[in-house]
Symmetry: C2
DNA sequence: ACGGTAGCCAACTAAACAGTTGGTTGTCAA
DNA sequence: TTGACAACCAACTGTTTAGTTGGCTACCGT
């Protein structure tokens, strides 16, 4: 008794299901970014989405799985914007910086996630591993080296360079490096790119 | 009808009160570092301390105030082992790195705190401002420049360089930059120091 | 035109939670 | 010796929470 198409339309209205799901994802993204996993409230998410909270369980299973879905969606969105580090490592830093300035929500999600250490490493996260490896290969190509842990560390550091000013904005402010005006943001952007540039151009091909 | 000394001993045993308070602080520090403010459980804190949870309210008021007390204690304890960045910027990165490798708890507390934005601005943290300015002056001296926002950004970036691998360890792991063995930690340490070295040695004295 | 079912919801449940209460004990000042 | 009071605890309370249930509705294939 198999049904029609796999991506079958749905009952009430042809796109109602997908729209509801999306509304929940959007709402959950804000809620999780603001309060974290432990602090997020399922009722608030449902209410903000204008949907009954039972739908969360129907569509996503539970709060934690909803968070995973939010992360997946956010990362998919991010990958559309950013190039590979191998194209131009310095531009990569700049683009990442821009993205996180415009989209602080994603950074907060990443931080909450990294603080929330769950026991079992989730199995359905292979896409993440692949994506990181891709970046390592990309940068290795550019540098004319073989992919290695050292290249991996370099990609990580480039990423860190771009988002560090946003991780603890109040500490940045203490250093006169606040990012509250377009000018100060531009200066910070230039700074991290210059830092990346000098470091990359004079890179020793590691022991 | 005023009592004896301001820091009066207490009833049951002469130091029981202080000891209980300290046990709660220690227990709470671990709990908050692990789960954050929202995720921390008052019952767990009390149980770990081997004390009735009512004492938390008696001594600290509520969960949030307990967190503040934990932060205060942690910062007091941090007698600033780290040198000034001006002495040697690269060593500074190394020392900072070492400190946070050894004290991941403090880093986690700082991150939880920075994500948990409360309404009221933290009271009297002037020492923090002073200490940051001191670092900027220190590095400016070293570089033969006047203290400036650009120097401030550089100090911030150096700090970020040292911190980043610990901020998102699981992401680091995805890049083959995990820090689960003494060797991999040493490699990471060398990496960030090398990165800082090349960037600082080839530093352009900014526009 | 009608039965099956996806999508949805109001109302419910059991557990977990922060915070409280009332009372007991041991110490110390008088 | 005693009585006042700090320190402490077991047990309780009211609320909030993630997660569930049973049923209603509108669409869709037949």
């Amino acid at each position: 008794m198999l049904r029609d198409m796999p991506n079958s339309p749905g009952p009430r209205a042809r796109s109602s299901a997908a729209a509801t799901k999306q509304a929940l994802l959007d709402s959950a993204r804000d809620e999780f970014a603001e309060h974290g996993i432990a602090g997020a409230r399922v009722d608030r998410i449902a209410k903000r989405a204008g949907v009954n909270k039972e739908r969360i369980y129907g569509y996503f299973g539970n709060k934690e799985k909803l968070f995973d879905a939010v992360m997946k969606a956010a990362m998919d969105e991010l990958v559309e914007v950013t190039a590979m580090p191998g194209d131009n490592p310095v531009d990569y830093v700049g683009k990442l910086f821009d993205y996180y300035v415009r989209n602080p929500v994603l950074l907060r999600l990443l931080l909450w996630e990294s603080l929330y250490h769950r026991t079992n490493t989730l199995p359905e996260q292979q896409w993440r591993v692949d994506r990181c490896r891709q970046k390592v290969v990309s940068l290795a190509d550019r540098l004319g080296e073989e992919p290695s842990d050292e290249i991996g560390r370099t990609v990580l550091t480039l990423k860190g360079l771009a988002l560090m000013p946003m991780v603890m904005p109040q500490i940045a402010a203490l250093f006169g490096a606040s990012m509250d005006t377009p000018e100060s943001i531009a200066q910070m952007r230039e700074h991290v790119m210059a830092f990346a540039r000098t470091a990359m151009e004079n890179r020793t091909t590691a022991e």
